[in-house]
């Protein structure tokens, strides 16, 4: 009786898992072993790992994803920490979350307007006497907008980690003679690190495959793995190669998840 009920509850999740996780991943792996003429081959992987272009693209993706994640952490941690001190923190947090409800493309187009030759940013630069600059289609603007878009996904887990932190730990640290800074870097930061890790997972991996932003804001100067996949599937119609890059991305995700996962030392269960 209970067993049958449990199975009933599993059905939606099982369907979801099969249709949207297992099947796509299986199809991508399957596709990656076929060339343009639908012949089974491992040549796609050979091409990938022997081509300077693909390797550079991979490196580029990782580098830019790293930069985006780094800037996101640097901005989000202090922000989350500050928000957490505020009286109506849930309200202020909501204001940070709000932009995530707006489609990423809309936000990208908004930045095209802001960063364009006659846009708000250049108007300001002209006003303070620097004169108009090329802002749009630079790597800096790409990182800027990507960071802007990712920040809420970093702030949220860090904020939650701070919220879960028992204030007695902070008192205990002070009680034992720690200054505010010592309390932060020896108690608060280590104990909220799981929040940072969750944020890194939520930001780094999607950043690896950003492609609309690279085109709309970065002007296709940076070709990331995401852009490459799109090109292969929609322009060159080389699904095999596109899938191969997809597999590489999946492996990269697994690596990042492992690196940022909870290491459980000596059988302890971290809070």
């Amino acid at each position: 009786m209970t067993n049958r009920k449990t199975w009933l509850y599993f059905i939606p999740y099982g369907l979801w898992l099969a249709l949207f996780v297992i099947a796509p991943v299986g199809l991508i792996i399957y596709q990656s072993f076929f060339d343009l003429g639908h012949h089974f081959t491992v040549a796609n992987y050979g091409t990938y790992f022997q081509s300077a272009t693909y390797l550079k693209m991979t490196l580029n993706s990782v580098w830019y994803a790293f930069l985006i994640t780094l800037f996101t952490v640097l901005i989000s941690y202090p922000t989350a920490y500050f928000l957490h001190q505020l009286k109506h923190r849930q309200f202020w947090l909501l204001l940070v979350i709000l932009p995530t409800w707006i489609n990423i493309l809309l936000k990208a187009y908004a930045f095209i307007g802001i960063f364009s030759q006659a846009g708000l940013a250049n108007q300001f630069l002209t006003f303070i006497g620097i004169g108009p600059q090329q802002i749009l289609f630079t790597n800096a603007s790409f990182i800027f907008v990507a960071t802007y878009i990712q920040i809420p996904f970093m702030i949220l887990p860090i904020f939650n980690a701070l919220d879960d932190l028992n204030p007695a730990f902070i008192n205990a640290s002070k009680d034992l003679g720690a200054s505010a800074w010592q309390t932060f870097h020896r108690v608060i930061f280590p104990l909220t690190l799981p929040g940072v890790k969750a944020g890194v997972q939520a930001v780094f991996i999607p950043s690896l495959s950003l492609f609309m932003l690279t085109r709309l804001i970065g002007g296709n100067k940076v070709i990331t793995l995401g852009t490459a996949i799109e090109e292969h599937f929609l322009t060159t119609m080389n699904w095999g190669m596109g899938s191969t890059i997809g597999v590489v991305l999946i492996v990269a995700m697994i690596i990042v998840m492992t690196l940022t996962g909870d290491q459980k030392p000596k059988g302890g269960t971290p809070r």
Binding site: A168, A172, K174, D175, G177, A178, V187
Partner: protein
């Protein structure tokens, strides 16, 4: 009197319009075991936090060895706290937790290792240095929390209901260990609890608190034998509290009769309350009795019977007796004059002490039961 280590002078704490502490005055001498005892919400933890520096007094002074420390931050005060939920850092091992304060002070590594080992030995967990905090039981965590505090060699150790999370047996054992530890270290302990049994067992001096005020302070025996008012009598131990009337010095009327008592200095005919502890009542045959009561129910408590009875005026009586009685039986109860304690309504501790001075030249009337 030696120089007090901690003094609170007219300390008041308000949150908005809500007053948590009302004009608290207390003095802690070095090397004694003090307890703040009261129901939850009475402000006892707030006093602890004020001394530790986690919260500041709205008014009044906090003195440490004679110096005002109101404006000294918590990390610069020479007091350490054992927290109610221990607050052991989960990302550090047992040894790292205990060493935390010493590493902040940048003590040399061999010294830290030695002092940590010593502290762990003191709490009988010498081999637990490499363990994770989560791998410890509640009682072990409690001891590590104590080790982490005493390794700092504070002059005052503040303990915030540290035994409340332990089971009854462990709690009793820890009472002995805490008392023993305090005597060996010779430092001042300020212990916060709502458990009167704990307070009576461990303390040199108890401060009984209610609603932000210290109602009475004194040794456990003083407070138990001479509670100042209904609240203290009721909160500490079991008691029979009866309405009565003062007839003359050393004469009081209650339960329809007049009895000799050990209290004086109260105006004649003043309405008072009488406290008699259940263990001071002795069952006897009605002929020799001071009062006759009818047994309602009784419970076997192991080392005694707890007997509930009613007298002819309808007052409830609680009697502890080593011998059982019959339900519904009419029995006599008797007590000695010094077993009665007379409480005046609204009398403050200072007035009570002053009244005692007037007739209690020697302590002959207040011998131990």
């Amino acid at each position: 009197m030696t120089q007090p280590i901690i003094t609170l002078r007219n300390v008041t704490k308000r949150y908005g319009t809500h007053t948590i502490l009302k004009n608290i005055n207390l003095t802690l001498e070095p090397g004694k075991f003090y307890t703040l005892l009261g129901p939850s919400g009475c402000g006892k933890t707030t006093i602890l936090r004020t001394i530790a520096g986690f919260t500041d007094a709205t008014d009044g002074d906090v003195l440490f060895a004679g110096d005002r420390i109101n404006d000294v931050p918590a990390n610069k005060r020479n007091v350490n706290t054992v927290f109610q939920d221990y607050a052991l850092f989960p990302h550090l091992t047992v040894a790292e937790n205990v060493a935390f304060g010493l590493t902040l002070k940048k003590r040399p590594k061999p010294e830290i290792a030695e002092r940590v080992a010593q502290a762990l030995k003191l709490v009988q967990l010498a081999d637990y240095g490499d363990r994770e905090i989560s791998a410890l039981s509640g009682g072990q965590q409690q001891r590590i929390a104590i080790a982490r505090a005493i390794v700092m060699e504070p002059q005052v150790l503040l303990l915030d209901e540290p035994l409340s999370a332990l089971d009854a047996k462990l709690r009793r054992q820890m009472q002995y260990e805490l008392r023993d530890l305090q005597q060996r270290l010779g430092i001042t302990f300020l212990f916060v609890t709502h458990d009167q049994e704990e307070a009576l067992a461990m303390s040199d001096e108890i401060f009984v608190m209610s609603q932000g005020e210290v109602l009475q302070s004194g040794s456990p025996v003083d407070i138990y034998d001479e509670p100042i008012n209904h609240f203290v009598a009721d909160f500490i131990g079991e008691s029979n509290i009866l309405p009565g009337k003062m007839i003359a010095d050393f004469q009081v009327a209650f339960g329809g009769h007049q009895f000799e008592c050990a209290d004086a200095g109260i105006p004649v005919n003043e309405a008072v309350e009488i406290v008699i502890r259940p263990e001071d009542l002795t069952l006897t045959d009605p002929a020799n009795a001071k009062l006759t009561v009818t047994i309602d129910t009784q419970l076997f408590r192991g080392d005694y019977y707890e007997i509930a009875a009613t007298d002819s005026l309808g007052n409830d009586w609680l009697i502890h007796s080593v011998n059982p009685a019959e339900d519904g039986e009419s029995v006599g109860i008797t007590f000695r004059p010094q077993d009665l304690h007379v409480m005046r309504f609204g009398e403050k501790e200072a007035e009570f002490d002053a009244r005692l001075e007037t007739y209690e030249t020697e302590d002959e009337s207040h011998d131990e039961p």
